[in-house]
């Protein structure tokens, strides 16, 4: 995920205050006004910085919360229905995506059973199911790219449910 700088506004306020100070006249009243303005600007700047820091901290908290769930969502055999645990994890990721305009790539995967091209379609359905849930919950679709790898990129190479269950997944990247 990419992140936008949030300190931009604070910097421009600081610049305006400095400019104001440089242009002030020599009279006492003007000096007092300038000092008051500078103080106000400094206060505003501090407020902005505090807000930005709080926002950044909140973003980080949401990212950490999402990261704690991991970025892989698992599916049942031949199914593209989101499981409750996947929805819980997705909600955390969606929250982390609300405060920025990062783009995500959803990669759909299947286990080795069934034909390769059918699995390619099934992997797409899984990626689309995740995408649709994110869109319904406020992530604009243009920020989401989906791609299906079918059964071509297994996590676990062996056969049997213990391997297959690891491979039926959507990865958020």
């Amino acid at each position: 995920m990419k992140h936008l700088p949030v300190a931009g506004k604070a910097i421009s306020v600081l610049f305006a205050a400095t400019l104001l100070a440089a242009c002030s006249g020599s009279s006492k009243k003007q000096e007092e006004e300038a000092a008051a303005a500078a103080a106000a600007a400094a206060a505003a700047q501090a407020e902005q910085q505090a807000a930005a820091a709080a926002a950044a901290a909140e973003q980080q908290r949401l990212r950490d919360a999402a990261a704690a769930y991991g970025n892989v969502f698992y599916f049942d055999f031949d199914s593209y229905n989101l499981k409750p645990e996947a929805i819980e994890a997705l909600d955390a990721h969606i929250a982390a995506l609300q405060g920025n305009d990062a783009t995500v790539r959803l990669e759909g995967h299947t286990d080795e059973r069934g034909t390769r091209e059918y699995n390619m379609a099934l992997g797409e359905r899984r990626a689309n199911a995740v995408r649709d849930y994110m869109v319904v919950n406020g992530v604009p679709s243009y920020r989401i790219e989906t791609v299906s790898y079918g059964e071509e990129r297994p996590i676990a190479y062996g056969s049997g449910e213990s391997n297959w269950s690891q491979n039926r997944r959507v990865e958020l990247k």
Binding site: Y118, L122, E124, R125, T146
Partner: protein, 432 residues
């Protein structure tokens, strides 16, 4: 798709310089009960030095692999005739050899000439004779042509030994990105050439009807795209790069169109691309998964897999009437059909008792016969003469190729020395 472009790819098209690591060997696991006994005597090399290829051994192996012949072991041969005058029929009757193949190989410059004669030991007469000429470096292909002629003479069916295979092999990199290779080899797995190597998936290889071009799907751009490539020039063209699926390319029998799966309009549907104009025609329009198109040999209809009935089954779309009919009703999973040149035998992946096998559906009798008993069988491909089905399966935890005759009577494996091998695509008959 914004633009179509043609790229020559000298870096990834490695012709003959690179030996594929996934070279295949052959293990016959099941033959016929009463195979025809034939002695393929080592052909006489008429030039000084060692012969560049043991032509007779190539023929011997081809005939053995068909399962319909039991070649006589060389150590059992009581003589090594190479001309009619040198034949003593009693030597061959003594070891119950029904047929005898002898030959002579000569060379001039870069050209090789194989003269051979087939004898009927029981009737004590010549059954066939022939000559094959061509470049010395194509000696194995010339030998396969001898096999084709002998096979046709004795079975009445055109031989398919002088054909080629495409397959995908994968070298696993646990925790990392696997290596994918698209390989071209002779029908016996010999002389493998790596056409494409990528750290991104490569799949769905197929042939143009004249065998001069191939098609496949590659993820090398980070997304799936359909490519076609000319085998003699190496020129490669990217045909699609649509949003969503770009898969399952299948050349029409007249070579003018390519059926494919695209999901750019929502769900996976079958489209036809005119290869000259690149114009697309949408064939199916359904919210279900429609995929794996394949052509009937007459080019008038397409078979495809769809889960529109709830589970994947095979359907036929008639291009003239625009009607769709379901073809498979037995079992809960029938997918990825391939049709024999007779337009009658259809092979597919069929699920039975939770296992995936290769099954054959006879379109005339509507009888479905399960041909294989291995596990996780997929990607069936029929020989151009309709005799054998090559498919991918798992053996000892690795992906290998295996073959079964269309009557299920003959079975053999083609294990590779390294990596997983899958998605075999048997070429059409090659123009000489």
């Amino acid at each position: 798709m914004k633009r179509l472009f043609l790229v020559i790819t000298p870096l990834i098209l490695v012709l003959s310089a690179l030996t594929a690591r996934a070279e295949l060997t052959i293990e016959i696991t099941q033959g016929r009960d009463n195979p025809t006994s034939i002695a393929v005597v080592p052909f006489n090399w008429l030039e000084p030095g060692a012969a560049p290829e043991d032509v007779a051994w190539v023929v011997d192996s081809d005939l053995a692999r068909s399962g319909q012949f039991a070649p006589v072991s060389r150590s059992d041969m009581l003589g090594r005739p190479s001309t009619q005058q040198e034949i003593f029929y009693r030597d061959w009757r003594a070891i119950d050899s029904e047929y005898l193949l002898i030959g002579r190989v000569s060379a001039q410059g870069t050209q090789m000439r194989i003269e051979y004669e087939l004898y009927d030991v029981v009737r004590q007469r010549q059954a066939h004779r022939g000559v094959e000429t061509g470049p010395i470096n194509e000696a194995r292909m010339l030998a396969h042509r001898v096999s084709d002629a002998v096979y046709e003479k004795l079975t009445g069916i055109r031989g398919a030994f002088a054909t080629r295979l495409l397959y995908v092999s994968v070298t696993r990199v646990p925790g990392g990105k696997d290596y994918f290779r698209l390989t071209l080899a002779d029908s016996d797995g010999a002389r493998p050439i790596v056409l494409l190597e990528s750290r991104e998936p490569v799949l769905a290889p197929g042939w143009s009807p004249d065998g001069s071009q191939i098609s496949y799907v590659s993820f090398e751009s980070g997304r799936p795209a359909i490519y076609r490539q000319n085998l003699s020039t190496g020129a490669r063209e990217q045909l699609t790069a649509f949003r969503g699926l770009n898969g399952a390319p299948a050349w029409s029998p007249d070579g003018k169109n390519m059926a494919m799966v695209l999901s750019k309009d929502g769900s996976p549907d079958i489209y036809l691309m005119n290869l000259a104009s690149k114009k697309l025609t949408r064939i199916t329009r359904h919210y279900a998964i429609d995929t794996e198109p394949t052509w009937m040999p007459d080019g008038r209809s397409l078979l495809f897999t769809s889960d529109r009935g709830g589970r994947p089954q095979i359907y036929r779309y008639d291009l003239r009437t625009g009607t769709t009919e379901r073809l498979t009703f037995e079992g809960s999973y029938n997918a990825r059909a391939r049709v024999a040149q007779d337009g009658r035998n259809v092979v597919m992946v069929h699920q039975q008792n939770g296992q995936f096998h290769i099954a054959l559906l006879d379109l005339v009798t509507n009888r479905l016969q399960v041909l294989t008993s291995t596990e996780l069988d997929e990607s069936p491909s029929i020989a151009p003469n309709g005799s054998m089905v090559l498919y991918a399966t798992k053996h000892a935890g690795r992906g290998i190729l295996a073959a079964v005759s269309v009557d299920g009577g003959v079975k053999f494996r083609l294990p590779s020395r390294e990596g997983d091998v899958r998605e075999p695509a048997w070429s059409p008959f090659m123009n000489r």
